[in-house]
Symmetry: C3
Subunit: 98 residues, 3 copies
């Protein structure tokens, strides 16, 4: 078992492409995405209205990659997109997949 970070990003659906490009840039080897409804500082967003729905992206990466990812999200993406991000500790199998 290897200690890694699970980074969760909840963003506006139109931020998907720039964020997945960033994930590749920082060295993430895979991610998952699924639509979520949400209610936050900017008011409710509904998954059944695709244009305004939110997307939850998740990626498992090494701690140093997570730090770089979060720093770049904060500096470059938070000013441009409605989004939140958080990290959690996870233990993974098959570390070479991440």
């Amino acid at each position: 078992m290897n200690a890694m970070k699970l980074v969760t990003i909840i963003c506006e659906a139109h931020a998907r492409k720039p964020i997945t490009e960033l994930l590749r840039e920082v060295g993430a080897r895979g991610w998952t995405a699924f639509p979520v409804e949400g209610d936050g500082a900017k008011g409710p967003r509904h998954a059944d209205i695709p244009e305004t729905s939110n997307l939850q992206l998740q990626v498992v990466v090494r701690a140093d990659v997570a730090a770089t990812l979060l720093e770049r999200l904060e500096k470059e993406y938070f000013p441009r997109y409605g989004m939140i991000a958080y990290a959690a500790d996870v233990q993974v199998l098959r570390q070479n997949k991440f």
Copy 2:
């Protein structure tokens, strides 16, 4: 990076409104929700039958808010709805969003 709690609630879909009202009451500033299929103590529930589907709600809050939320869920909601809840440690960016 700030230490917060991610609280996950998996409940019957019809519990959505009372639970999101509770989230507001205890001070959560946003949440996400998405349908899940499940199989638990009460038997299988399938996402393709909306009436019986489960909902996964997630909210990131301060540790004290998480404690209040979980205590109220246990006392006031668990007796009335089929649901489970759990908390995990997360590190967040933009703490003012939560």
Copy 3:
């Protein structure tokens, strides 16, 4: 509050039945599942093409059950299916439900 493990399994949709059978075998009392899009070592998978979509399964179990589950996934399932798995610490209410 009781310390437990949340095990997340992201797999090809056709691995669902064997994996949920394994979950029962190792003693998990419930699970949730939902479709996810993904991009990993084997290339992109899109949730809107059901045949190639991935499934995210999650289960909360005791630490010893998580260890058995992950060991069996690694030995018996990873060689046969495209999948990843990771575990995280969670605190649960109503431990008897898990």
